[in-house]
Amino acid sequence: MAKRRERIDRPIRVLTEDIYALESLSRMIYVAAPSVFPVLFLLLLPLFTPSLYMQRVLILTAVYALLALSWDFIAVATGLVSLGQALFFGVGAYLAAILNLHFGLPPMVTLLVSTFAGAAIATALVAPCLPLRGVYFAMTTLVYPLLLARTIEATAVLGGTDGLVGIASFPNVWVERYLVLAFVLGATFALRRLLRTDFGLVMRSISDNDQAVRASAINITVYKLVAIYLASALGCFAGAYFTHLYMFVGLSAFSLDLSILPIACAVVGGMGTLVGPVIGAFVLVPLAEMVRDLGTLRVVFYSLLLVALVLFKPEGLMSFLERKYRQIERWVQV
């Protein structure tokens, strides 16, 4: 009596595919729940995390979620692997510090400027490497944060190894708490929507087969530039936000941690789904914080986790959850 596992769509999923979704409340909830509940959960979270430490972990998580989202967006939209999210973070962080210290701009303005201008700077830096693929692009992106950090160290500009201190903080804690969460949510939904438009279709096909897209008389460099610009805007915002949060910026803004952990989040959550990396960040970053006492051992811990997931479970949390939500499994006789 051989049996095998069969997966079929849930009846409610089939029923909610078109206008019949509006027929009953439960069907409407079924459709809306996957986007509404996570958003509500995120927006209510700061209200239920009383201690300062928990708030900081939450903010850190959101920052890593942004970086993971940015990494994943580059991968989905251009098919390139970036090993240097720290570049975007660092550029945003230092730009915000300079704008605040030398030009005396208030945090909200510096955030805005460093997000858009910082992304332009980062894109200009990465632009020459855009024709590269695979391993070559990964190597250049690995090099950039190191190069900038070493240059700052060697020339002692921008505070050198001491970093810049005395940067203004946010006007009040609620702005501080909600700003980054709102940005994470906005960015996730905006990028998902973007990928569903015609513009996004071209982006996704570039990551599948760039030669075929070129053969269709489409200039792929333009699309890659846009993708890098959007991704680096997320990274720059994260950096600028972090600078104002800690009122300090130093060489740690280019650290390797900022490049690896986002990749780990994306892998845990599911590469290529955009929402996955954010979920991954919310799983992995608090976990990594819990084991902070272990010192550098926690890097070992999440590096190994990353390897294990890539090797044995590359689909990620998001596809798993999506499958469970949409389909039922049952044993049937062969």
């Binding site: 991968a75 692997v81 090993l83 020459p128 490497c129 024709p131 590269l132 693929r133 695979g134 391993v135 070559y136 990964a138 190597m139 250049t140 690995l142 090099v143 950039y144 190191l146 190069l147 070493r150 240059t151 160290e153 060697a154 760039d210 030669q211 070129r214 792929i220 390797l256 690896i260 990749i263 780990a264 892998v267 590469m271 272990l294 010192g295 550098t296 051992l297 890097v299 070992v300 590096s303 190994l304 990353l306 390897v307 890539v310 090797l311 044995f312 590359p314």
Partner: protein
């Protein structure tokens, strides 16, 4: 001044060639960019240190065992991890990079830094070359490096395994047709590449001390040399090492010690932007850039 720049530039170039040759070999044969390379280098130094100071083995035996150990680790890296993600560059990069990071951080956790961890040189002596004092280890290093690179060239051109390596590198399908197992060759290439990293480590590390941090530096230097010379090109490794080696020594002499790294990083960027196949690369242009 000029004479010492000439001599130390040469020594530095040979050090770079030694550290880069393993990375280049692995990539050239199996197309795996081994981002764990720097970690394997540090691991070799640490293994040699343990064998020497904890187990009190004979000097040469300890170095030899350290090299063998790291070669086995390299082979295991392919057999148990990379084999599952072969041909998927994203996963290959993530796996080697993350394993390398894990290894380095693990060693750092066990307190691997500071001058307490050093390997003794072959012989404590100082020679005079063209009126410039050079210690014995550095001279030995130049000789070992030159011999090793020559031996590698002979190995890949005149032995059966060496020829199989080149066959796989040129055309995997055709090589399979004549009975060469690509997975077997890739395992061997990772083992050999790691062994070369280990040789570089046990020869170069006596000049300073073993530090977990040097892992990423070594990786960057190896990548810089390989990129500038062209990945997989043996002649390119030598020429690129000479170029970067002298550029580093000159910049250190005239600007400051921090610039050693900046030179290497700039070499990577400039080469990749303007000529991604490097000076001597034989890659197909389309494979690496659009």
């Amino acid at each position: 001044m000029l004479r010492s720049i000439f001599i130390y530039g040469l020594i530095n170039s040979i050090i770079l060639a030694l550290t880069a040759v393993g990375f280049s070999l692995t990539y050239g044969i199996s197309r795996v960019a081994n981002f764990a390379y720097g970690a394997l280098y540090v691991l070799a130094g640490f293994a040699a240190w343990v064998l020497l100071h904890r187990l009190a083995l004979n000097y040469y035996l300890a170095l030899f065992l350290a090299v063998v150990f790291v070669a086995l680790v390299g082979a295991a890296l392919y057999r148990f991890a990379l084999i599952r993600v072969r041909g998927m560059p994203i996963s290959e990069i993530i796996v080697t990079f993350a394993l390398g990071t894990a290894l380095v951080e693990l060693l750092r956790f066990f307190g691997l830094f500071g001058s307490a961890y050093g390997l003794p040189p072959l012989r404590r002596a100082t020679l005079q070359l063209l009126g410039v004092p050079v210690d014995f280890q550095r001279v030995a290093l130049v000789v070992i490096g030159a011999v090793l690179i020559l031996a590698l060239w002979l190995f890949t051109h005149y032995t059966k395994i060496g020829l199989a390596f080149r066959a796989i590198a040129q055309d995997e399908q055709a090589a399979m047709m004549v009975g060469i197992d690509p997975d077997h060759m890739a395992t061997l290439s990772l083992a050999l590449g790691s062994a070369l990293a280990a040789v570089a480590a046990v020869v170069v590390l006596p000049l300073g001390y073993i530090a977990a941090e040097s892992g990423s530096n070594i990786l960057v230097f190896a990548i810089a040399v390989c990129i500038l010379g062209g990945l997989e090109s043996p002649a390119g490794v030598i020429v690129a090492s000479l170029l970067i080696g002298y550029a580093q020594i000159l910049s250190v002499a005239y600007f400051g010690p921090h610039y050693q790294m900046i030179v290497a990083l700039l070499a990577i960027l400039v080469t990749l932007v303007f000529r991604p196949s490097g000076l001597f690369g034989k890659q197909k242009e389309l494979e690496e850039r659009v």
